[in-house]
């Protein structure tokens, strides 16, 4: 029912982050939490709307029952609240940390939306702390074998749901640790790896097998009654410039992977920003993660290039509530950079137009160029605006363009023009007993969307397996 006047009494307050100067010294979790009383007050701001945009298609892709668990949380019914949360959200400890929280932007309180993401995180962490989150081992097994290829958010979500429906699930992961981008893509300070591992352990205890360091093999997959492919969209967008192979030029994911590997193994990173002038191409979340990682590794300077113009600080007329606001957001990495240098690392309407290397094919600088929007809406270079920017580490965070070629070949999959393995009928079914889900199916997207898509695919697979249509 919500607290009728909560939104009038309490102002929005987000989880604070640790101070920049402190957190820059390590790779530990950024977030601090609010006192419980304040958490309850924050939850009491939820108005339990008759039409909750937050959980609609404008908001949460998982259709999290936000008004329900906010109401329970406000009244101190944490355990009940958590059970409502877990009804739709399999991994709140992930989304509670990395989700951009579309729900908060679609909240009827508009700019002052309820802190759903922080509330969610509080609930799940409270659940773990109080021992409420225990393995849910299905009481009956159907005898059906399901393979899930890929252990990113989509794969884990599909595996979880199918396991709960009593099927025996094997997750096949080519990396040495499960989690996909959540393990090696997202830096530890944003999503601590023990959090990912905690979930994997729980899933193992619930009966899911993880086959690591294993490439999916069509012959092997034939043994399964159903196969869910969640291989992601890991082909990075290239800059298509000469010298892309130069030393010191890396795709962001590779860089971030190395950073996390080094953190987990205690060894030095294979690629390090230490003492280097870092240029990051791409102004998105991954770019920001690169900025933050580079700063922690002791970069001499960090510049982040963004092709698009600097967004407005308030919503533009064509971008009304409850759509996602295309407004200026300054994320933790950028804030850290500002705290160190006093200025925003981002340069807008600019991209790299050339890579300059030395005789050892090592990058020493990049040529940048200004971009301008044409009347058709394309961003085109402004001739004569080229500049040289010293750089010995160029990180490319320009997004992903679909499933890797090799995966497509191995599994004999057909991708569409955008690299997606997307069944034409809009379902997840690839014919026979195979299904696709997550970024593989939808193209690069958010963790929360991948989870939603993994669950949707699992529902279809379950119906297929149990003959329930």
């Amino acid at each position: 029912m919500g607290k009728a006047t909560g939104f009038l009494e309490t102002a929005r307050m987000e989880n604070p982050l640790r101070a920049e100067d402190v957190r820059l010294k390590d790779f530990s979790d950024l977030h601090l939490s609010l006192p419980v009383r304040e958490r309850h007050s924050q939850a009491s701001r939820c108005m339990d709307c008759g039409v909750p945009f937050c959980q609609s298609d404008f908001g949460c892709p998982l259709h999290n029952l936000i008004p329900e668990w906010n109401d329970l949380l406000w009244q101190g019914q944490e355990k009940e609240a958590l059970s409502r949360l877990l009804l739709t959200a399999p991994f709140p400890e992930f989304t509670g940390r990395v989700c951009p929280a579309l729900c908060e932007k679609a909240c009827n309180l508009a700019d002052e939306g309820v802190t759903n993401r922080d509330n969610e995180l509080y609930l799940i962490e409270t659940g773990f702390a109080r021992g409420w989150v225990v393995p849910r081992v299905p009481s009956r097994r159907t005898g059906k074998q399901v393979a899930v290829v890929g252990s990113g958010p989509a794969g884990l979500a599909a595996a979880d749901l199918l396991n709960q429906r009593g099927h025996s699930v094997t997750v096949i992961e080519r990396a040495d640790r499960p989690g996909g981008l959540m393990m090696y893509g997202i830096p530890n300070m944003k999503l601590p790896k023990e959090i990912v591992e905690r979930r994997i352990r729980l899933m193992e205890a619930e009966g899911i097998s993880f086959l690591l360091n294993t490439e999916a093999d069509p012959d092997q997959l034939r043994a399964f009654d159903a196969v869910i492919l969640c291989c992601g969209s890991r082909r990075p967008r290239s800059l298509n410039l000469p010298h892309m192979d130069a030393e010191g030029v890396h795709y962001a994911v590779d860089y971030l992977t190395c950073a996390t590997r080094s953190l987990l193994s205690g060894s030095d990173p294979v690629i390090s920003a230490s003492g280097r002038h870092v240029v990051v191409v791409g102004g998105g979340d991954t770019g920001n993660d690169c900025v933050a990682t580079a700063l922690r590794q002791g970069a001499s300077s960090v510049t982040q290039l963004e092709m698009m113009p600097r967004p407005l600080t308030a919503r533009a007329p064509g971008n009304p509530w409850p759509e996602w606001p295309r407004t200026l957001r300054t994320d933790y990495g950028q804030l850290e950079a500002i705290s160190v240098t006093g200025s925003d690392p981002r340069v807008y309407e600019t991209t790299v137009s050339g890579i300059q290397v030395d005789e050892h094919n090592r990058i020493h600088s990049v040529e940048t160029v200004r971009l301008k929007r044409t009347p058709e809406g394309r961003m085109e270079p402004v001739s004569g605006s080229e500049r040289i920017l010293p750089s010995d580490l160029l990180l490319i965070a320009a997004g992903f363009i679909g499933c890797e070629e090799q995966t497509l070949r191995t599994l004999s999959l057909k991708a569409d023009a955008r690299g997606r393995v997307l069944p034409a009928d809009g379902t997840h079914a690839l014919g026979g007993s195979w299904f696709s889900a997550g970024d593989l199916r939808t193209g690069q997207s958010l963790v929360v969307r991948a989870i939603a898509d993994g669950r949707a695919a699992a529902h279809e697979a379950d119906a297929f397996l149990t003959d329930r249509h």
Binding site: D48, C49, G50, S56, D71, L87
Partner: protein, 1438 residues
């Protein structure tokens, strides 16, 4: 019975009401004067009768008298027949089919049957009459009218015994021939009646004018039917009675009487009794069925007045007085339920005339005694004005009263004497020892079988519980003991169109009273209600004895587990209890399960079991349960079929029922009591989790109390005040259920559109079972029936997030493109509605160029915004809509909260002013500011219910607008207290037309099956327009079950209204409007083609002003500044008139394009053209009845009702002295200027209604109901007539005086009827005694009562002060202390009181006032002030 030509017309849903009268000569002398005067009474009650559209055919009128022996003798002598003396022959009055051969045949058959019964026929007489006088409709259907004379056999004594044999003969004949109707067949009474105007009766029958026609008594009746279709037989009197009112529980009464036939044994009629059966004839009107039952009891030896007492019992349960006849009532209650509903009945066997009034006193019956011992009974006092000077006593019947005038002894026996006499007939109190109360049974120890959380969750899932059920329904009920309140109406699809596997209960809609009978306020008039339930064998009604009341009495139909255990373990020779399982194996079908279930019940019945406990405990992975509602109703029908219904009581132990609606259905379809064990278990678990901070037993008590109160409220919506009568009354209608299934398992329930059959019911039940037992259950599903949810399994809503967004963006950015996307989404992606399943038959039309179509600007003048009161919404929002509609030339609606006078005659004025049951701010000036005055009979979200605006929301400005007091809560009563019946509505329409003769008077109804006949009645009552509002309508606050389970979609009601109005040739007299979530041009075009010509929008304009369906209107926390009075939130209002205007223009634009394709240039030419609609291919329901009638008839200004206002006395008033009669209604309302008028005679209804400041009228004589209605500053004084004997206790004015008065003075030097000063919010009044419910819902003003007060005084009185002269300290026992307390008159107010008394004495010459004033200080301590806590606080603040 379906009439193919008018597929939506339902004959069985007709209503009627009327005026009644009787004259009894207690000297026992038969005179023609008695007959003549009785006819005069009915002629002067013309305004209470109805006629057809042409005004030439009346709805029916009739008279019952003794046999006019002299007249018959002279006829017999002429014919050469020997009649014998009075008492030696009986006369039958026959309506025969009008064809010579048929008549001869029928007469021969009758003679044969009579012969077989040893009742020789003396001869036949063609009754002389004048068909040429009649209207065409009456003439067309006129029967052949003959009288049959039958000789009394010598072995049969005269009188009752002879009449009993005639009764038997009539019943035998009736079962043979259904085309002939016998008006009466008796040796003591005869009925002359017909379908005519009141003035035609006398002229039509020569006999009635013959001076030889003499009688000791005469009873008359004029009928106002909601239908003008001919029916001679339905005119009153019936065989024994005539009735003003309506029996609401008739279905259950009928069914139970039928069931009782098996167990009844007649000591009086013996085996002959069987030959009479069935007691109640199918197909009759409610009055006819009541008459059947009364006649049956009488013929089986019941004294006549006792039959009235049994059928219409007084509210003995709630009576504060321990009367000696209480156990008599309880004794009969254990066998027979009340026939509940408004009723003033007069009944006679020829030797005595009796009168009874219903338990709520909802119909007027005024009595007078003359100095020559002639008793005059009538709906209105003073109607026989020529007797005025001879009257020595005037009184009125009160609720539950009975009266007997005995023509043999010449005695007049009144209620107390009669009841005392009957109470002494048997040792009822002793007999009552046999009645067992549940509380008397030994307590059982039950360990609540509390399953663990997982099992409970699984069970909940299996029974289809949702999270909403648990948290938005159960939780608030357990917390607060009352049903949850919600806002903004319903926008989910019908159950049959929903993808959410809804429970069977969702297919049923609660029926509710509108116009033809009033809903009851079960809260404020609790004393008239009764939740008792009786379990066990009904006994033999016809034979008195203690065994009859060996039943178990419950005080509520909701049982705890422990209480159920007490019944289950009952050890008593009279009770055999058996539990029958509702479970069936997964492998079986539901149909098989039902038949196994019936067999088990049959076997139990054969073994003498008389309490069946149906239980669905034990649902598990392999066992499903028969849906509880299906089981209960199917068994009820089965038991009726095998005539075991009264021998067996059914109790349900089920996990399924959880909300009020489900409980009401179970009771309404036959369960005597229900133990909702799973709901109880959920409440226990909520307590354990701390979500309800109460002990489990307290929480369950609160939950059960909420259920009981909720069921009673649902019953009271239909005007039913006892659960015993509600039981099995089937006051529901089904929508979207397969007709065959309804007829088989829910027999006699009205249904529409076909749809879901037993297979789908079973599939839905299996869906839930599977979800519970085949899938992991981690929580209850979030379906979002009221508050929307998205995601898997969620309910669809019309106002989905995308829809709201697109609509707002379209009107805010003035984008027709976005509006098209919005409309497209509503039509193609939104939930299915009836209208979305209809499409236009463009292929049958020639498209015309768009320019030729009526302009948008012209179309929008037909548009209205919905009635939303200032108070429920903010000033900003209210004015925004008014401004928009004024710009467009459409009309905005003030709602029921009044309007600030500063807005009148400006851009901000609402063209439509609403008059609702609360009458807030309804002043003369308010009415004069209107172009249209809308009487709100019901509202879509909660038809049949009142409202309650908490004091906190009554801000300074809201209070000013509503003519009330800041901080004082405002209650809208469920009924209009001046509309209990159709002729009352006619009166209000007339009153309002007098108050503003330029305005159009319209009536707002809510869609339901039968609304067409009501609409016809409304049209006949003179309304200029009718609004059929959809049941989905939104509102600020309404109980959750009402929002979703009462009222039908507008499509059905609108189509029915158009069809039935056309059928009755009334359509052109009225404009027809509809509303209810109209969202697109498509929607409006469907409405147009189904018969509407004006269209209302409410939710959509709110959305354009920023509303996003928060559904918190009832909390006043609207974050968009719309439904709030909080200044901080109001500052957030972003609405603009142009947004609303754009919406209207966009809709009109879409309409034009459709019109062009349909080849229509004007809206008018499309009204009712349903032939241009077709069902879409994938339509899931059968809509052919909706579109199966096409007629382009619409409002024609010259067909408007003529009120003959120019002929009114107050218009033609040239002097300040005037003589009045009862036909001078609303006297003074049209007075001009500032005047002081003295009147003599008798004030008709609504004397001084809406009298403005500057007017003073003084009446010397009696007045009738509704005196000073809406008094707006004027002064009314009423003093006893000067020309006759007057006793202090005589009744001077009628019921419901000063209803909704806002200011002015009313000085009444005598007794008033019921509900004096009801909803008074500002008038000051003195009266010298009041009936029941005085000062009900009063919110302001002062009322001084110088005499006795009736029961339930000050119920719901939140403001103002009542000073009562409490000489005998009886006030406390009559007080309803819910809101008020009794305190001494405060010194500050003593002066006020004195000044008021001085004024009273001066205006009326009151002796009582003079006496008090001569020694005021001594009298002052005898006065008590009745005042509410809130008002005291307010006065202190001032």
């Amino acid at each position: 019975m379906v009439d193919r030509q008018y597929p939506l017309y339902h004959q069985e849903l007709e209503h009627e009401s009327c005026g009644v009268g009787a004259i009894v000569d207690l000297t026992g002398k038969a005179t023609h004067r008695t007959v003549d005067q009785a006819l005069s009474i009915v002629e002067r009650l013309a305004h209470r009768a109805g006629s057809d559209a042409l005004g030439t055919t009346g709805d029916g009128v009739g008279i019952m008298t003794n046999l006019p022996h002299a007249l018959f003798l002279s006829w017999a002598t002429e014919e050469g027949l020997v009649l014998g003396n009075p008492g030696e022959y009986g006369v039958g009055m026959f309506f025969l089919p009008e064809d010579e051969v048929g008549v001869r045949n029928i007469c021969r058959i009758f003679e044969q049957l009579a012969g077989a019964e040893q009742l020789p026929v003396i001869g036949w007489r063609d009754v002389p009459c004048h068909p040429a006088l009649l209207g065409a409709g009456a003439r067309r259907t006129m029967p052949r009218i003959r009288q049959c004379f039958i000789r009394r056999p010598s072995d049969t004594p005269a009188g009752e015994a002879f009449d009993r044999r005639l009764y038997l003969l009539r019943r035998i004949f009736e079962k043979q021939d259904t085309d002939t109707y016998i008006c009466s067949l008796s040796s003591r009474t005869i009925v002359y009646k017909g379908m005519m105007l009141v003035t035609q009766l006398r002229a039509f029958y020569d006999d009635l004018q013959d001076v030889r026609y003499v009688s000791r008594m005469a009873m008359v009746h004029s009928r106002f039917s909601t239908n003008t279709f001919p029916s001679w037989s339905k005119a009153h009197p019936q065989r024994m009675l005539l009735h003003n009112g309506e029996i609401n529980t008739i279905r259950g009464n009928h069914d139970r009487m039928k069931a009782r036939e098996e167990t009844m044994r007649s000591p009086v009629m013996g085996e002959d009794m069987r030959r009479v059966l069935p007691v109640v004839q199918e197909g009759g009107s409610d009055s006819q069925m009541l008459d059947n039952a009364m006649e049956f009891l009488y013929m089986n030896g019941f004294p006549l007045p006792l039959t009235g007492m049994i059928l219409l019992p007084e509210p003995w349960q709630g009576s504060p007085e321990k009367t000696p006849w209480r156990d008599l009532y309880r004794y009969y209650a254990s066998m027979m339920e009340p026939w509940d509903g408004p009723a003033a009945i007069l009944y006679s066997d020829g030797d005595r005339v009796c009168a009874s009034l219903d338990r709520n006193g909802l119909r007027p019956l005024r009595c007078a005694m003359t100095d020559d011992r002639r008793l005059i009974l009538s709906s209105e006092a003073g109607v026989l004005f020529e007797e005025n000077a001879h009257i020595i006593r005037r009184w009125k019947l009160k609720s539950g009263d009975v009266l007997e005038a005995d023509l043999h002894s010449g005695e007049l026996l009144e209620s107390r004497a009669l009841k005392t006499r009957f109470a002494k007939a048997h040792p009822y109190t002793q007999w009552m020892q046999h009645l067992i109360r549940l509380d008397d049974l030994p307590r059982e120890t039950v360990t609540p079988a509390s399953p663990d959380d997982d099992v409970r969750l699984q069970l909940c899932r299996a029974f289809g519980y949702t999270w909403e059920d648990l948290h938005h329904v159960l939780l608030p009920m357990a917390r607060n003991g009352s049903e949850p309140i919600v806002s903004m109406g319903a926008d989910e699809p019908l159950a049959a169109l929903s993808r959410t596997h809804p429970p069977l209960s969702d297919y049923f809609k609660q029926r509710f009273a509108q116009v033809t009978n009033p809903p009851i306020d079960a809260l404020r008039e609790e004393m008239k209600t009764d939740c008792s339930i009786y379990i066990g064998d009904d006994g033999n009604l016809l034979s008195d004895g203690p065994d009859n009341c060996t039943v178990l009495e419950l005080t509520s139909p909701v049982l705890t587990e422990e209480e159920l255990a007490r019944i289950r373990n009952l050890r008593h020779s009279a009770f055999q209890v058996r539990t029958i399982s509702l479970l069936y194996g997964k492998e079986k079908s539901l149909a098989q399960a039902l038949s196994t279930f019936f067999s088990a019940c049959d076997a139990a019945c054969r073994e003498g079991v008389n309490i069946l406990i149906l239980s669905d405990r034990g649902v598990d992975p392999s066992h499903l349960a028969i849906p509880s509602l299906l089981a209960v109703s199917a068994l009820e029908q089965h038991l009726i079929h095998i005539k075991k219904r009264t021998a067996v009581s059914v109790i349900l132990e089920s996990g399924e029922p959880r909300d009020v609606h489900q409980l009401a259905l179970l009771i309404g379809y036959g369960a005597r009591a229900v133990n909702p064990y799973l709901a109880h278990d959920c409440v226990r678990s909520l307590c354990a989790k701390g979500e309800v901070e109460k002990s489990a037993s307290d929480a369950i008590r609160a939950y059960n109390a909420a259920l009981t109160a909720g069921v009673l409220k649902i019953a009271s919506k239909m005007g039913v005040s006892t659960l015993q009568a509600y039981q099995s009354a089937q006051l529901f209608e089904a929508i979207g259920l397969d007709g065959k299934m309804v007829e088989r398992y829910f027999t006699n329930t009205p249904y529409s559109l076909g749809g879901t059959d037993l297979n789908r019911v079973e599939a839905d039940s299996r869906f839930h079972h599977e979800a519970a037992f085949c899938l992991p259950v981690t929580g209850l599903p979030a379906v979002g029936v009221h508050k929307l949810r998205t995601g898997e399994g969620a309910q669809e809503h019309l106002y989905a997030p995308e829809t709201i967004h697109l609509l707002q963006q379209a009107v805010w950015n003035d984008s027709r493109d976005l509006f098209e996307r919005y409309a497209d989404r509503v039509e193609h992606e939104g939930p299915r509605t009836i209208r979305s399943m209809l499409d236009f038959r463009f292929e049958a039309c020639h498209e015309i160029p768009l320019e030729e179509v009526e302009s948008e600007a012209s179309i929008v003048t037909r548009f209205r915004t919905g009635a939303m009161s200032y108070g429920s919404i903010s000033q900003e929002a209210h004015e925004c809509m008014a401004m928009a509609m004024n710009h467009l030339g459409g009309r905005s609606n003030s709602g029921e909260g009044g309007e600030l006078p500063s807005r009148y005659r400006t851009d901000l004025n609402s063209a439509i002013k609403q008059v609702a049951s609360g009458r807030f701010g309804v002043t003369r000036e308010y009415l004069l500011s209107a172009q249209e005055i809308q009487i709100k009979m019901a509202q879509g979200a909660k038809p049949g219910e009142g409202g309650h605006l908490p004091g906190a929301k009554v801000t300074e400005s809201v209070a000013k607008t509503r003519c009330s007091t800041p901080g004082i809560s405002l209650i809208s009563p469920p009924p209009h207290h001046d509309i209990y019946s159709i002729e009352d509505l006619a009166e209000l329409i007339y009153d309002l037309q007098c108050a503003n003769d330029q305005a159009k008077i319209t009536v707002k109804l809510v869609s339901s099956t039968g609304v067409g006949t009501i609409a016809s009645g409304v049209a006949k009552a003179g309304a200029g327009g009718i609004l059929i509002s959809g049941g989905e309508g939104g509102t600020g606050a309404a109980p959750m079950s009402s929002v979703h389970h009462a009222g039908l979609p507008w499509e059905i009601g609108l189509a029915e209204a158009h069809q039935v109005l056309c059928r009755n040739r009334l359509r052109q007299k009225v404009t027809l409007e509809t509303d209810g979530k109209l969202m697109t041009g498509h929607d409006v075009m469907v409405a147009l083609l189904l018969g509407a010509e004006q269209f209302g929008f409410a939710t959509a304009p709110l959305i354009t002003m920023g509303c996003r369906m928060m559904r918190v209107c009832h909390l006043g926390t609207c974050p968009f500044g719309i439904a709030t009075q909080n200044p901080e939130l109001r500052a957030r209002f972003r609405g603009k008139p142009e947004y609303v205007e754009r919406f209207m223009l966009f809709i009109a634009g879409q309409m034009r394009r459709i019109m062009a394709r349909l080849g229509a240039r004007t809206v008018d030419e499309l009204v009712g053209r349903s032939d241009l609609l077709r069902m879409k291919q994938d339509a899931a329901l059968d809509l052919s009845d909706l579109i199966g009638f096409s007629r382009n008839t619409h409002f024609q200004p010259d067909a408007r009702h003529d009120f003959h206002l120019a002929e009114r006395t107050d218009i033609r008033l040239f002097q300040d002295h005037v003589h009045l009669t009862t036909t001078d209604r609303a006297f003074g309302t049209m007075l001009r200027g500032s005047r002081s008028v003295q009147a003599q005679g008798c004030g008709g209804q609504s004397f001084g209604a809406f009298l403005p400041e500057g007017q003073q009228i003084t009446l010397y004589g009696v007045a009738n109901d509704y005196l000073g209605k809406g008094l707006s500053g004027g002064t009314i004084a009423v003093c006893p007539p000067v020309d006759s004997v007057w006793r202090e206790e005589d009744t001077l004015i009628g019921n419901v005086a000063l209803y909704g008065a806002t200011s002015g003075y009313a000085l009444i030097a005598g007794m008033a009827g019921e509900r004096f000063a009801v909803r008074n919010s500002g008038a000051w009044a003195v009266v010298e005694g009041v009936g029941d419910h005085g000062c009900e819902y009063m919110t302001g003003g002062r009322v001084c009562v110088l005499g006795p007060v009736g029961d339930n005084f000050a119920a719901g009185m939140s403001g103002g002060i009542a000073w009562v002269l409490d000489e005998h300290s009886t006030l406390r026992s009559h007080l309803n202390a819910g809101h008020v307390q009794i305190v001494p008159v405060a010194p500050a107010q003593a002066g006020e009181l004195r000044r008021l008394l001085i004024m009273h004495e001066k205006a009326t010459g009151s002796r009582k006032a003079r006496e008090i004033l001569t020694n005021f200080e001594t009298w002052l301590p005898c006065f008590r002030a009745v005042i509410s806590e809130e008002y005291m606080t307010f006065l202190k603040g001032v």
